[in-house]
Symmetry: C2
Amino acid sequence: MISRFPGLFKFRGVASPRNHRSFHHHRHPPPPPAPATMSDLRPPEHQVAGHRASASKLGPVVDGSGLFYKPLQAGDRGEHELAFYEAFSAHAAVPPRIRDAFFPRFHGTRLLPTEARPGEPHPHLVLDDLLAGLEAPSVADIKIGAITWPPSSPEPYVAKCLAKDRGTTSVLLGFRVSGVRVVGPGGAVWRTERPEVKALDTAGVRRMLRRYVSSDSGEVVDCALAAAVYGGEGGVLSQLRELKAWFEEQTLFHFYSASILLGYDANAVSATGVGGGVRVKLVDFAHVAEGDGVIDHNFLGGLCSLIKFISEIVSETPDTPPLGP
Amino acid sequence: MISRFPGLFKFRGVASPRNHRSFHHHRHPPPPPAPATMSDLRPPEHQVAGHRASASKLGPVVDGSGLFYKPLQAGDRGEHELAFYEAFSAHAAVPPRIRDAFFPRFHGTRLLPTEARPGEPHPHLVLDDLLAGLEAPSVADIKIGAITWPPSSPEPYVAKCLAKDRGTTSVLLGFRVSGVRVVGPGGAVWRTERPEVKALDTAGVRRMLRRYVSSDSGEVVDCALAAAVYGGEGGVLSQLRELKAWFEEQTLFHFYSASILLGYDANAVSATGVGGGVRVKLVDFAHVAEGDGVIDHNFLGGLCSLIKFISEIVSETPDTPPLGP
C-alpha cells in the first residue's frame, strides 16, 4: 500500500507504520489498560457524523472509562491517520497548549474485536473520548476547508470531493456542518439526519449553528445558550480565536477534510448559564498533508468564516444567562 | 448576454449596465478630462501581467496624466467588472479608508480608439494609474486565492481554472505570482517572463518575493530593500495586515481571481532606505461575486499565506537601511 504522502512518515523519530505491520508497536506512552471486558465496548451515543459501529459496519467504540477507539480506515487512510497521530504527538514544534487544548490525546493502537467482523480483530486508534465527563453532551461536527482533498490527490478523487464540496456549503462558506446533536432541558435529544444535513445551504448552516445553542429541544431556535457556549472566556469563540492564531503561524500540517468537534454539557449550561465544559477539538486526520513551510490557508480561511458566523450569533443575542430549569 | 452573477447588479442605486448599452452613462463622478490627444495613450511600461495592448490585442493604456484605461473584457467579464466598480464605488458599507488605500479610484467609462481595432472605438474602464508618480516602479502582481472560479461557475470553466490552479501554486499556497518587475540601482530592469512565472513552485515563489526587494538587477538576491519595502510603518506587511482585518469582517464581495498589485519607487527606496511610496492595491474584478453575508475565506486564506511568506522575509533580513547608490 503506497501512501499518497510518504513524507508524512518522516517526522522525527517516528518509524513508518509500513515497517511495523503489527500494530502492537510500543513506541508510545504506555498503552492504556485494556477495557475491563470487551463487552464494555459500545458505539458512542453522542456520535453525530461518520459510520456508526454495527453488525454491518466498522465504527468507533468507547469503553466508558474515557477512551475512544477508532477503527483504522480502509485503504491508506487508516495508516495515514495513524502516521499523523504519531508525528503530531512527538513533534517538538507543536505547542503543548495547542496539543492539549485542541486535539484528542493519542494512546497508540490496539487490536479489538468488532461486531462487523467477528473473529477478526481490527486495529484501532486509541484516543481520548472527547465527550467523556459531559453529562448531557450537545455536539456539533463541522468539516473545515473549502478544499477537502490534499493537492497531490489523483484526479478522480479530486473530482469526487469537488462535486461533494460544491454540493454542500464547503466551497461557498469554507466549512460544512456534518452533524449536530442537542440535548434539551428535559433530556430530550434533537439530532440531524444525514440527508437533511447534506442539503444545508447558507441559511440552513446559520440556523443549525443557532439551533446548537438553543435551550429547547423542539424546533424553537432561541439561542438561549449562545452567550454561555459561544461567548465569554473559555467559550467556543475564544477557543476558535486561539486556534486561529496558531493557524496563522503553523506550517507543519495541512488539515484537509478534518473537522472541528464542538461539545458542551447541556445540563450544566442550562442550570448555571456558564461553564458547561465547552470543548473545541480537531478530529479526523486521514487526509492531513505535510505543511512544508506553508500555512494551511484552506483550514484557516474556513475557520475565519466559522468564527464570523458564530460571532454574529453571539452579538445578536443578549448575554444574560438563561435561568435554571 | 447573461451575467453569471445577476445579483451583483442589484447594489443600491446602481442600475445594471445591461440597461445602459451605451457606456457613456453619467451616473458617476464627473468624467475626467479626455487625454490631450489620442496619441498620448500608450501601453503602461510597468505592466507585469495580463494582455499588453498591441496591433493584435486589446490591452490597458495610460495617458501620462495619472489615468489608466482598461478595455472592457470580452464576454460578460467586462460588464461584470464595470458592475463591480459601480457597486463598490457607491457602496455605503465600504470604509472610505479601505476604498482609498487599497482600490484604484473609478472614473466611469470611456470609448477609446485602440491599435488592435482601428476605427472601432472600444469601451474602457477609467481608473487611477496605480503606479503614477513612481519614478522607477518596481511592481509585483500576485493573484490571490486557492479557488479562482466563483462557486456558481459552470462545470467546464471550473475544470479549466482548477487545472491551472493546480498547475501553479494557487491551490497549495493560496496565491500565485503572476509577474514581477524590478528596477535596479542603475535603472536596469529585471522582469519575469510568462513561461517562467507559470512554472514557479513554492521555492520559486519565495525566491521571487525576495527578488522583488533586492537591490541588484542581476541574479543576486540580497533582500536589501526588504526592511524598507516589506517592513516598517506603511510598508507592504503593515498594509496587508490592515487589508486582512477588513477581510475578516467584510461580507460584501468575494474577490475570485483578483490580484494584489505591489508597487514601490526603486530610486527613492535605494536612495533613502525608507518610504518610496509603497503601494498595495487590489486589481482585476471580472470574477467578483456578491458576498451574501459570508466572508471571503478564499481571499482571506491566500492573503494570510502571502503575509506569512513576506513576514518571514522581513524577519530573516537585517533592518538596517541600504546605503545610497
